[in-house]
């Protein structure tokens, strides 16, 4: 028989192997000096580790957890009864306000679409000096003469009045 694998030796010492396999290894250990020595070393380590027992009695957390859970449940219930209706009311108010704003906006856009806009009142003159275009000025009425050096023609004065 082959030597016992390390992992099986650990389980053998821990007593977690199936009964049949345990007996097989036990039989091998009685005839194999190497495995018997390894087994003794593993057993010593296993037993030494056993000394570290932890006493949790002074550190119970069950009561604290129950208190926390009860407080959390109470807080949730309070939220459901006190704050949730108010939050819902606030959401409703926002919805109404949004509906009104959207309605007004839509009405304004509709009105602009239905009623055609008046074109800006401009009075065209055939006597516009040629350089007015070059200056980027619009020849609409008599106001342009106020920025020009030339005197305004009589015809344009009458038209402006």
């Amino acid at each position: 028989m082959e030597h016992i694998k390390d992992i099986e030796l650990i389980e053998y010492v821990g007593g977690t192997l199936a009964a049949g396999r345990h007996r097989q290894l036990q039989k091998h250990i009685t005839v194999c000096e190497g495995c018997a020595e390894r087994c003794q070393q593993m057993l010593a380590t296993w037993d030494t580790l056993d000394n570290w027992d932890v006493d949790t009695a002074a550190h119970s957390i069950a009561g604290r957890i129950e208190t926390l859970a009860a407080a959390d449940k109470l807080a949730k219930r309070r939220f459901r009864t006190d704050y949730l209706p108010r939050a819902r009311l606030l959401i409703l108010a926002f919805r109404v306000a949004a509906s009104i704003i959207i309605g007004i906006g839509f009405g304004y856009m509709l009105a602009r679409w239905i009623v055609p806009q008046q074109p800006p009142a401009t009075a065209a003159s055939t006597d516009a000096p040629k350089y007015v275009d070059a200056l980027g000025l619009e020849w609409s009425n008599g106001f342009v003469w106020s920025v020009l050096d030339e005197p305004q023609p009589e015809k344009d004065k009458e038209q402006a009045q």
Partner: protein, 185 residues
């Protein structure tokens, strides 16, 4: 029906529908396992208590959607393990060179005599000196009694990785504990 006869999975179902008394019962049943796991891994009782508390509160939050795939204790241990590993990494990140990260004093232990206290101290130090994964594997195997498959489920490591870690961890411990052979014999 007394609370002792009700299984963990039934208690989780009860907790899932909002009965928080089931949480207290689950905590009473399993707090020793979780506290000792956290204490052995982190070496401090204050952290172990925080981890224990958080473990059960997370179990409560998960109760509504809990579907028993593994053993309840394995599932609960997996929550505690994740919290322990996160806490360990947080401690490592926030550690300053002058800060003392030694485990809690052995005075807290219920030991008989200085010899026993010294022995416990040596074992604790030997385990704390293992790498994070080896330490976790040994604690779950030796002290929490989890099988290789259960350790694999709780940690998410493959079964062969668990076995490899256990072999290396026990070999390291054997070397470290050689100096106290006199105590063991």
């Amino acid at each position: 029906m007394s609370s002792e006869t009700v299984g963990d999975k039934e208690l989780m179902a009860t907790l899932g529908v909002g009965d928080v008394t089931a949480l207290g019962e689950l905590a009473r049943r399993h707090q020793d396992r979780i506290l000792s796991l956290a204490y052995r891994f982190l070496g401090r009782w204050d952290l172990a208590e925080d981890i224990g508390q958080e473990t059960f509160l997370r179990a409560w939050k998960a109760a509504r959607h809990y579907t028993p795939k593994a053993k309840f204790t394995t599932w609960l241990s997996s929550i505690a393990i994740n919290l322990c590993v996160d806490e360990q990494r947080r401690l490592m990140r926030s550690a300053r060179p002058w800060q003392n990260l030694e485990p809690d004093s052995q005075v807290e232990w219920d030991c008989n005599g200085a010899e026993k206290r010294e022995l416990v101290g040596i074992v604790q130090t030997a385990i704390m000196e293992l790498s994070e994964r080896q330490r976790l594997a040994v604690i779950l195997h030796r002290y929490n009694g989890l099988s290789h498959s259960e350790i694999s489920e709780a940690t998410g490591w493959s079964k062969s990785a668990v076995e490899s870690l256990l072999v290396r961890a026990y070999a390291n411990l054997r070397n470290k504990l050689d100096k106290i052979k006199d105590f063991a014999e």
